[in-house]
Amino acid sequence: MKYIKKLIPVEPYEIAILENWFSDLSSQGLSLHSANTIFASFEEKEPKRMIYRMEPKKEGFGDKPPQKQMELYQEYGWEFISIFGKYFYIYAAEEGTMEIHTDPVVESSLYKEYSKQIDPLSNSLFLSVLLYVGLTLLFLIIRGQTNPTRLVRFGDTQAMILPYLLLMSYLFSLRPRGMARVHKQLSAGFRPVAEEEPYRKAIRKHKIFYCLIPLLLVFLYGPLFLEHFVLEYDKPLAEIDHPIPIIELADIEDAPNFYYTDKNWRTDTPDASGAVMFETSAGALVQYYITQHGVSNYSASLSLDYKEFMPYVSSEKYLEDWLDSMWYQDENGWITEELIETPFDKAVLAKKGNEQVLFLIYDHKWLEVNYVGLKILAQPQYYDMFLSVLQQDYHRS
């Protein structure tokens, strides 16, 4: 026996199209043998047109319908052929056999459990996508309010999977929605009818659909997340040829008496010119980490952490969480104070020995200046420089 596999041309709920497709293939000598929702397997036989009917599988039923049901159907000339995905049983009979279902309303009751899965609000694609986007944003807002640090620092996963979640939620909603549509038609007393060879048109529609939806999502969400997919980098400072939020403390190379002891993570390369890391996350699409060091191990060092928060991230909460983190607690020897009369929305200085960390919030942006050296950062003469950095945008897409 020779079997031929074919791609299922339409979604499982297109029952009339599929029943016709199976019938047309049987008249070409391909008798349906088994099927899942992606492929159908056909056995080569003498061409003979059979009629096929799909009946929803009831919850709790196995790969075959109950024995007494199969026997009853057999008495009427209907043979069970295969289960179809998790949705249907497929039966076949010779042309002229009495229909399996003669009352569409009774048949509709078999689709009822699928229609129950459908939220009344999700009856249109637009509403379901809108609902999903709304819930996702709500989730981000809640996360942003409750744990912005996590969202800003580690939120890249959400950023990456959001378009896929949208696509999957849309695709997963398709089948129950399609089944609900069949239920509605049957309840109204009409069984879906397919015109002659409609599946050729349906296949084209199906292909267009599956190509267009991902493309649409790419266009809608691509720009938003382009920076994440394409532009993340970690480069030496000297190679950067576009604006970055860098500050210049002229004295960082000029601290001959400064003895560097605390920053054990600092590079040991005396001539290090620093590095620029660009990252993005769901909480802050633009993030730069820039390190600038003096010319020797004994020079002062400076590193910057610049972020542009998404509107749903609370910058003050982020600061609060960040200060609560292990590095800046009193028991670790840090002294923190809020700076007043600065041009920033909020400014906090953390100090420990020769290390100073200045946390600045301005216009929903974040600048964290880590400095190890002898100069005093919290001085008006430096504020203008920090402010000019915060007043620029560094979007690259």
């Binding site: 009853l72 009427y76 003669t102 009352d103």
Partner: protein, 106 residues
């Protein structure tokens, strides 16, 4: 009430329930009864029959009384009789309304 959970009795469901009013029936008996009673005006396919019997059994309108090989026999319950009587009355009222409205006798 059973009728609420069934929502509405379709023509086929009504005839299946009618079939049980005189005696116990198996599937083949029901099909024969409906064919004779309606002069084959109403036909019932195996899927429809199976779904209706399963639904009626679930709603306790009928109950299984015997299984002999592939033959399963059912009888109507009191609940089933009540529902049938209600439906007949409803249909009578519909006919009466139609007659009153059109001033003709059917």
């Amino acid at each position: 009430m059973a009728k609420k959970s069934l929502e509405v009795l379709t023509e086929t469901m009504f005839y299946v329930l009618m079939a049980f009013q005189r005696q116990e029936m198996c599937g083949a008996d029901i099909v024969q009864f409906i064919g004779e009673r309606t002069k084959n005006h109403v036909s019932i396919g195996p899927g429809t029959l199976y779904t209706i019997l399963a639904k009626f059994e679930e709603e306790k309108l009928i109950e299984e009384t015997a299984v002999e090989g592939r033959k399963r026999t059912y009888r109507v319950t009191n609940k089933g009789r009540e529902l049938y009587a209600e439906e007949v009355n409803r249909l009578r009222m519909c006919i009466a309304d139609a007659e009153a409205e059109s001033h003709i006798s059917f």
